[in-house]
């Protein structure tokens, strides 16, 4: 048992390498000789055993019709090898880009089955499973209709934890037509899945400074404007952020930029210095704050360790920030 345990990872690694050479990642897979594997299923072996039984029975009873029936079943077994293969080879599969989601949720997955041929399409049940995993779910391939050539299967992906992942290799298999053979393939779709941290409700903490200093006094909940209104003479106490450094550099007077105040505040969301255990919680809180800022239209920037995302607002910005959270690692 132990030996098996120690060998298994090596074998798995070898198989993975071999597969990635044989069936390289792509967004759309048209099944061919290279990507299809076919072997008799367990039922197929049972069927062959039945044929052997009939041969013995037919021989012992010197019964020619029984022998003929036995040979006919063997012939059907052979013919089904082709039938299974060609049916499976008619599959042409792609998946749409996968929407990002929060850890613990599910993301919809659209699997498209395209027709390869005007007249015939793959039929039967298609089993979909993760590579190397026994649980599978089955789809009935719908016989092709002229109006709607592409069949779209609505599946979903579990997103258990934060991160950016490659969509894993999936195994598609089919037992059509008589279940005597199992045709299968391990497809690698070249899609990435971005899993954001689960938002954790907390109070919004916007830092006035982009610099990473915990004890900065600029911890506020209400500063920041959106629109540049003009320049005002510098008054001691104005935030350094607001100093129009260009003007200073031009040897002019120190002036501060002033903003219209009909909008909410602006500021930085900062990842506090935390231990590894607290990291996920902190990131989850940030995710919540990012969502809240976006909802309230607050302009915010993000400081994650050395990474810095300039203040902005809008959905695109939110996704960029959340993605940064998803990718973040402590060094």
């Amino acid at each position: 048992m132990r030996l098996k345990g120690s060998i298994k990872p090596h074998i798995d690694g070898f198989v993975k390498r071999w597969l990635s050479q044989r069936i390289p990642p792509a967004n759309r897979h048209r099944l061919t000789m290279r990507s299809i594997f076919i072997l008799p299923s367990r039922f197929g072996w049972m069927f062959l055993l039945l044929c052997v039984g009939l041969f013995i029975l037919g021989t012992n009873y010197q019964n020619n019709i029984m022998l003929l029936l036995c040979y006919l079943l063997v012939a059907i077994f052979l013919i089904n090898l082709h039938a299974s293969y060609w049916n499976f080879a008619r599959l042409d599969i792609s998946i749409d880009p996968i929407a990002s989601g929060y850890a613990g949720e599910q993301s919809p997955l659209q699997l498209r089955i395209h027709p390869t041929n005007a007249k015939q399409a793959a039929v039967g049940k298609l089993q979909i499973a993760n590579f190397n995993q026994p649980q599978s779910l089955s789809i009935d391939l719908i016989p092709q209709q002229p109006g709607n050539p592409t069949q779209v299967c609505q599946l979903s992906v579990d997103l258990p934890k934060r991160g950016v992942f490659q969509f894993p290799r999936i195994t598609l298999s089919s037992f059509y037509p008589l279940g005597l053979y199992r045709c299968w393939t391990h497809l690698d779709f070249d899609r990435e899945i971005v899993v954001y941290p689960t938002p954790l409700p907390c109070t919004l903490q916007l830092h006035q400074t982009g610099v990473d200093n915990e004890d900065a006094s600029g911890l506020t909940t209400v500063v920041g404007h959106d629109d540049f209104a003009g320049l005002t003479p510098y008054v001691v106490g104005d935030s350094l952020n607001r100093i129009a450094w260009k003007q200073v550099a031009k040897q002019q007077n120190w002036v501060s930029k002033s903003f219209d105040s009909h909008h909410a505040v602006t500021g930085w969301l900062v990842l506090p210095t935390v231990s590894t255990e607290q990291l996920e919680t902190a990131l989850s809180k940030l995710a919540f704050q990012i969502n809240q800022c976006t909802r309230e239209g607050i302009q915010f920037g993000l400081l994650l360790g050395r990474q810095r995302i300039a203040p902005a607002s809008g959905d695109q910005h939110r996704h960029a920030c959340l993605r940064a959270l998803a990718e973040f690692r402590l060094h």
């Binding site: 010197q62 019709i65 029936l69 006919l72 013919i79 016989p143 279940g179």
Partner: protein, 690 residues
Amino acid sequence: MLAITSQTSPPIETQKQPRAAVLLLSMAYAILVASMTTPVMIWIVILAACACVVRISFYLRWQTAPLRMRTINLLAILGALALAWFSLSIGLLLSMVNLLVMACAFKLMHIAHEKDVKQLFVTLLFLTACGFIFQQSLVYTGLYVSVALILLVALLQFNAPQQSLKHSIRYVAIQLVQGLPIAILLFLVLPQLPPLWQMPTAKGAKTGLSDSVTPGDIADLSQSSELAFRATFASEIPSPPQRYWRVMTLEQFDGKTWQISPTRKQVNRQYRSLNKQFSPSLAGPTWSYQVIAEPSHQRWLFGLDIAQANSNGNNAIIQGHEYQLLAQRPLVSALSYDVESYYTEPLNHTLLSIDHRINLQLPQSGNSLTQRWVEDKLAELDASAHPRERAEYILAQLRDHFSQQQFRYTLRPDPMPSDPVDRFMFDAQAGFCAHYASTLTYILRLANIPARMVTGYQGGELQASGVMSIYQYDAHAWVEAWYDERGWVRIDPTAWVSPDRIDFGLEQAMRDEGSFLADSPLSLARFKNVALFNNLRLWFAQLDYEWSKWVLGFDANRQDDLLEQLFGRLTPLKLSLIGVTVVLTVGLLLALYIMPQLRKKQGDKLTMIYQKSADLVVEFTGTPRGHLPPSHYFQAVQDKLPNLARTCFSELTQRYQQHHYARPSETRSESEKQFKHLHSKLKRHLQKSR
């Protein structure tokens, strides 16, 4: 780590469809059981019917909750106990078949998983094959092949529930038709092996004559229009009164029943242990013919006296000391053998002493009236008379008695429970061949003349081309007596009473009584006087004959003949070459079957040409294409291509894309030509600028 789950629940349709598959399975099961009512016990048939009803009520949603496992298990245990009890009397083979039928019934009542459906399928397919143990005629073969078709359709429906039933049937039928040539090829070429081991045979499945005759028994057979055997004559054909097909010789009489003599069995055992085959030296004119015996599950064979036979198959034939033919193993399938009948030879090759001792045996008591009758008759005769005189005198007296008392030949004799010979001789005075034969044999023995009863078939219907069919209703019994140097002489007392029976067959003899096949009103043999029906019957008999001859009777000898006819003398080299040829032929056939698929794939020829061109470009520019779409790839390489080649590749890319994503304006062959042209141009330009 990432799990794929189905977002929408699977369509409800899938719930319904396996039910269709299961219903098809139960249909096949019902047909199977209905066709096997003889081997399957009646209570199991009822059980099977219940299972089918359960399935139908599930299908129609009268019943939705599955049956409780406990109920079914309890039923199964009770059923198994009952079957174990009956198995003592019905033998191993029938018990096994009954067990299979019963198991299928319980499985059908409780189908919970996919696994159950598959198991049921395999068991039913096996049961279908078992049907061939009991029935091998053309009609039943057709029936069982249809059952196999239904089973395969059910399996297809199970695996592809979305497909329509019509489509499924077509699909499976095509596969069966495709499989047939392969099956026939394998059948013709794979060696016909002898039985690997002795299989149990069915007691209840035996057909034909039984090895004991209580007068009246053969009358049962006379109600059956089943075929017993066929003979194909190569020589001249014997006239109807000569067609006495011997099956067995009964030499032991207990006052009621005739049986094979235990002394005879013992003698035969001794002969066998000494390895002394009965092989008399025979000469004279012969009838030569080939017999194809139907599977009777018995060892008895058929021949005209004196028959010498050679088996064509693996089942050897033993020549008996009673001039009968016996197969080494019971006939579980059709057996064909060649016979030479030396019809002028007297039957005097056996040991007189043994035959006398066995054939003078008399029952201890009973039938006293007949005994007195014989004593009276013998008293009129000189005590020192030659046995022949005595025999001829007794025969004449009996014949007189029969004609004076107006004995009748009937298929509906009165029952004669005690002293049957007395009752027949003096009360009923009407009976069947077994009554006459039994009475005569008994009387001859009383007169101290060795006599025995022979059962077999008398007659036969001649069909075209020297083929004679002998049916069960031709069963007959006659007498043999030994009273001079001619040895055993055949005497048929039935002929005294009903000469029609011998000359024209049972049907003619029974014309007035109307009892011919009275129990099977639909039998085509009853309608011989309707021309259409008779032609139909004869045509079908001919078809069945060909089936028996070529399929059922195909055996090792015939296989060798066929192969030698085709390939000349069979050397090991030739045999292995034949083997290789067969494998290649099967491969070729399979390839032939997928040709349509390949042709459809050819639609991608344009892709192939584009691919080839792209490969050339890759080779020239060194830029791999990877998974780039054609237009992107063109953009990536256009700067690296020489001018002329670039225009070619550009056009090719454009056309290819157009072809793939828009309706092309030109026909496929035109665009193929265009593509080829562009490809060769591109090739030329690239080669030039290298």
